[in-house]
Symmetry: C2
Subunit: 110 residues, 2 copies
DNA sequence: CCTTTGTATCGTAATATTGCAATGAATAAT
DNA sequence: ATTATTCATTGCAATATTACGATACAAAGG
């Protein structure tokens, strides 16, 4: 118990859930929004921007990287992070398809 | 420690994160998709549809209800669940805005 | 009234997440 | 060479999530 039973679900359902989980933290959303805004692939001044400890930010960055949403490139002692455009486009479509599968025109049924 | 520090973030960031968390489980996605498909507000034959225990499904339903994504109406001993169209539309817009904030036309910066 | 049916809730176990101090590793600056 | 800067990793504590058996509860049917 305590572990998600992924074998019960389709690959699409698991994928969407996993991507949602990657976004399911305000710090990770803040990081993504900062990367979107600056575009210039800012690194650990996310620690300044957001009020969390350096280790915590680093951990969130790793989760976003593991999810494929961002990528980092080493530049001296710094690491520049930026959004992965391909994955972003893919995610956008994934969520769009999910939300558009329901037609809201006729209201609730209960 | 172990608790998300929501005070560091904006209401929008927390809202988006919370909604993402509501979707961040394949069982909850499967439930939503089933409600989308059947429209007819099926209840605990979600237990049959999905392979999880009744208590587990009930718990996921409560989370979706707490998030405002679904609503249930009692009908005898049964409870008919269906999607909350207003919230659904709201969520759709929330995610859409988030994903569209990034312009992928120029590729990655690192 | 008693039984059946459909759900919700409680209690509990296993696992995952969140956060940070401390430490390590690698480059840059002096 | 030594020190400073930047980031990742480790180890740990607190809390949250996931799953299910057992139980409780309410409405229907006998």
């Amino acid at each position: 118990m305590g572990v998600t039973q992924t074998h019960l679900f389709t690959a699409e359902q698991n994928e969407l859930a996993q991507m949602a989980k990657a976004i399911a933290h305000p710090a990770r959303i803040a990081i993504l929004q900062h990367l979107v805004k600056t575009r210039s692939c800012i690194n650990g001044d996310l620690v300044m921007e957001i009020g969390l400890a350096q280790a915590t930010i680093s951990q969130h960055l790793r989760e976003l990287k593991d999810a494929g949403l961002i990528q980092g490139s080493i530049e001296g002692t710094r690491v520049n992070y930026c959004i992965n455009p391909e994955k972003w486009t893919l995610l956008k479509a994934l969520f769009q398809d999910f939300f558009e599968s329901y037609d809201t025109c006729c209201g609730s049924n209960c």
